[in-house]
Every structure is written in structure tokens, then in C-alpha cells.
Amino acid sequence: MDFGVLLTDLPTLVVVILGVPALIGAYIVGSEFLVRRLSDKRRPQVRPWFWVGPALFLVAAYLLLPAIGTVFQSFENNNGNFIGLGNYESQFANFPTGGAWVAIRNNVFFWLIFYTLFTLAFGLILAVLFDRVLYENIVKSLIFMPMAISSVALGVIWNFMYQYQSPGESQLGTMNALVTFVLHHDPVSWLQDQWPTPTFNILNNLALIGAATWGITGFALVILSAALKGIPADLLEAARVDGAGELTIFRRVIFPLMMPTIVVVGTTLVIFALKAFDVVYVMTAGNYGTDVLAYRMYNQLYTAGNSGGASAVAIILLIAVVPVLIFNLRQFRAVEARR
């Protein structure tokens, strides 16, 4: 194996590791130097723009402008001609099984609700529980581990978990081994069964969400546990002295104090839920009624080469985020009022 390159190219790596932060540091120090030459009054007006400037620039270049372009593209056909709401019409055609409807249903009902709730709940519960165990770092690493796995590997693992062999065969998949061995039930075809009905197939969607949740819980855990550790110990002590049990302390003290962070994690998860892609891509490819918006967009864009349709799907996705933003704005003002 040619690990030799690690040695020969190492100087480059070192230069980069030192150079990039140095460059950024130089920028902020330099800009502060400039700001200091301004008058007392101008300084606080100008300074923030130096601090947010590079971030706004990069975000505008890589996300905002393309997003605006997407808005325009969603009104055009593939030859760049304006076609009004045509792309949207075909996405919204044939309710409830045509167009993007299945994807919308899966994202907005199944993914948004279950993925967000499961992950938040697990993350929060584990963060609080692990906070008290002796080998916190080790158990946390275990939960974190799935995050380090690439989505492809995750798909492989969960495909194995959900493996199906015909009834009577020995079940290689963990889930079906459990189902047959413990519950004495016929093996379940987790990813294919459109249970309870093909128009409301919650089972296989939940199977996908389960895999995705497994992969992301470490994310919620890490952030929430960082926030948990920031809660002043004397508040918990005060609550204990006031006679509160640990559950009450969690409900009345820890939870409200972590609320801002829970909102951040929750918002991020909602957005992840709306953008869910990897697991679906790897495990079912949107078959058996498990399509999602991001996967549909990917398909439209790359497989079908239908950029107008893809843009329309993306805009639907972006619009779905708006209520979350409004909620954030409220939360934001509440926190601001508190400090």
C-alpha cells in the first residue's frame, strides 16, 4: 500500500493545517484593526459586517444564489422556456399516488414526525442518562459510532438487519430472527410490506426511519449533552433541596433550560427529515411507497434530467421549512427577552 505519500506530502498538509487558520486569523485581526480607525459611533455599525462578512459571502455564493436560481428554474422547462406553474402541476398531479404526493406524505408525516421525535427523544434521554453513568465517554462513543459510518455502509448493515428469508427458513436478518423466534410470528418483509395499506404504508417507512434514526442519534446526543453540561449545578442542587425528584428536575429545570438547544437540534432534525435521502437511496430507492422529496429531486435531476421538475420539488421542500423558521423567530425573541 502506498502510504509513502503520507510522508512525502506531509509538509503540504502541515502548511495547510497552519496556513488556513492563520489566514482566517489575519483577516479578523486585520479587519478589527481597520474598524478601530473609525469613529466611536461608526465602529459598532461597521464591525458586525466584518464578522459576518466571510460567512455571508460563502453562504450567498454556495447556497443562496443557487437557491434563487432554483426558484426561476422551477418555472421553466428543460429548454429554459417559461412554463408558469407547469412543473408544479406535474408534481401535484394525480393525488394521492401520483407526482410528488407520496414523497410529500412520507416527508411531512412520517419522516418529519417520527424521525424528529425519535431522534430528539432518544438523544435527550440518552444524554440525561449517560450524564450519570460512570463510563460516560465509552457509552457515548457507542451511540456515536453509527455516525462515523458512511451511508452506504449503514444501508448494508440495515439491509442485513431487515433481511427476509421465506417462512420456515432460518432467518438471517436480526429483526426477523427476533420476530420469528421471540414472537413466533411469520417473518416480516420490513422494507417491502406496504402495511397496513398500500396508501398508508407506515411499516416500511418506519423501518427506514428506524435505520436513519440509528444513524443520527449520536448527533442529537452530542449536542444535547454539551448543553446539559452547561446547566449550572447549583440549580439542580436547589431543586433537589426543594424536594424535586430527578424526573421533576428534568421536566421543570433541565428541560426548560435546554430548550434553546432543543430547538436548535429539533430544527436541524426537521430539516434533515425533509432532506432525508441517503437511507432511502441506499435501501429502497423510493420503491414500495417510500419515496421522499430529496430522492425524488435527485431522480428528476440526474436520472431523468428534468431540472425544472427537480427545482419544483426543491421549492416544495424549502417551503415546508418556513413554519419551522417562524417558530424559531419566536423562540429567538423569547430568549432575547430573558437575558
Binding site: M1, D2, F3, T12, L13, V15, V16, I17, V20, I24, E32, V35, Q45, R47, P48, V52, P54, A55, L56, L58, V59, A61, Y62, L63, P66, A67, T70, N137, S141, M147, A148, S150, V152, V222, I223, S225, A227, K229, G230, P232, A233, T261, V264, T267, T268, K275, F277, Y298, A310, S311, A314, L318, V321, V322, L325, N328, L329, F332, R333, R339
Partner: protein, 230 residues
């Protein structure tokens, strides 16, 4: 087989990509987050919300316009950049892209933590004569170490595990492609040696885990304890 898989080169490339692509959004994001949390400027809340909203933009949609700009306006193709002979340069477009994609979350998370610091501390630093830079580097950063550590972990992990962005912006030629591209190629082929795949998968997983484990000690409890009364 191992020779030809270029695992060592890919491993190195992954570091060359992941480290700056983590440092950039975390530091630039920290600057911005600090401004959003503790400075006043017109439109602050709305700009902030717009950033959060941009978190939802599917990256696939941005590839074509951005790459188009790189190629047509800047002539930043991997070939051209490699031709300059400056080591590291071919990855610059990718670093910037990862920074752009990572910033919304970076800012969102950090601003939330920065906002939770007691204002008394900022006041007392100001009274002590500390300028904005000092407050940022000597108070905000050390007191937000748990948040920064978690952000570093995630950003590193995302970049390290990223396949698509790398594929688009630097391509899959062995000189520049990261581990993931390498790995993906190993998995496609009919009947690749599965032990090689396992070894490579292990390699790609072990690094984020090491990052996680080594940053865990920064998840300290009660970092603000003893600071203010009341």
C-alpha cells in the same frame, strides 16, 4: 490490488480535504455566530433565519451553478489547478464549497451557545478594557469549547464521509479523490475483494472515531460555574 486501489493516497487526500473543510466553516462560522449573538446590526434576526432556512437547500441543486461558475468564470478545473504545481490548490474549490455548505449549521449551533453565555462576563471584560477580539478569543472561544468541539466533530465527519460533493468538485482521479470515492468504487465492481472493502471501511470509520474520542475531554461540566452570583 491494494497498490491499484490507491488507498494511501486517498487517505492522505481525505485529510487534505477534511481538515481545511472543517477549520474554515468552524472559524468563519464562529465569527459570524458571535456577531449574531452579541452584536447589533440591522436585519440581524432575519439574516440569521435566512441562514437557518438555507440549511434546507438540497446540495445537488447547487452543484451545476457553482461548478459552472468555477469552470467558466474562474477556470478552476482540477486540471488547471494541478497545472499550477502548487500543492493543495486543486482542493481549494472543494474547501470553499464545504465551507459554504457547512456554515449555516455552524452558525446556527454556535450562535445558540454563544447566546447562552452570561452577559455579565462580557460587561466585565469590557470594563477591564478588552476589545472585541480579546473577548472573542479569550472568553467566547474557551467558554464555548463543548459546542465548538461538537461542531468540529460533525463537520469533520460530514466532510470525511462525503462522497458526492468531492466527486463533483474534484472528481475521482486518484491524485485528488478522497477515501469515500475510492471506497464507492470498490463497492460497485462485481465481486471486489470484500476483505479489502472491510479494511477500507474500517479505515474510513476509525478516523472520525478518533476525532470524537480525542475531543470528548472537552465536553466538560459546569464550565461557567463560579462565575456569577444570582
Amino acid at each position: 490490488m491494494l497498490e491499484q486501489s490507491n488507498l494511501g493516497q486517498a487517505f492522505f487526500n481525505s485529510f487534505m480535504i477534511a481538515i481545511p473543510a472543517t477549520v474554515l466553516p468552524v472559524t468563519i462560522g464562529a465569527f459570524a455566530a458571535y456577531a449574531f449573538a452579541w452584536m447589533n446590526f440591522p436585519g440581524r434576526n432575519y439574516i440569521f433565519l435566512a441562514l437557518v432556512g438555507l440549511l434546507a437547500v438540497p446540495l445537488q441543486l447547487t452543484f451545476i451553478p457553482v461548478l459552472h461558475f468555477y469552470v467558466q468564470n474562474l477556470h478552476w478545473t482540477t486540471d488547471n489547478l494541478e497545472a499550477t504545481g502548487i500543492p493543495g490548490l486543486p482542493w481549494v474549490p472543494l474547501w470553499l464549497a464545504h465551507a459554504g455548505y457547512g456554515l449555516p449549521f455552524s452558525i446556527y449551533l454556535l450562535a445558540n451557545f454563544f447566546r447562552a453565555l452570561p452577559s455579565d462576563l462580557f460587561e466585565s471584560a469590557e470594563i477591564d478594557g478588552a476589545g472585541t477580539l480579546t473577548v472573542f478569543f479569550r472568553l467566547v472561544m474557551p467558554l464555548s469549547v463543548p459546542a465548538i468541539a461538537s461542531l468540529v466533530i460533525f463537520q469533520f465527519l460530514w466532510v470525511w464521509n462525503d462522497l458526492l460533493v468531492a466527486l463533483i468538485y474534484v472528481g475521482s482521479s486518484a491524485e485528488v479523490a478522497p477515501m469515500t470515492v475510492n471506497l464507492a468504487n470498490l463497492t460497485t465492481s462485481l465481486g471486489a475483494g470484500s476483505n479489502l472493502l472491510t479494511a477500507a471501511a474500517f479505515f474510513s470509520m476509525i478516523v472520525p472515531l478518533i476525532v470524537f474520542l480525542s475531543l470528548q475531554r472537552y465536553f466538560v461540566r459546569g464550565i461557567l460555574a463560579g462565575s456569577v452570583k444570582g
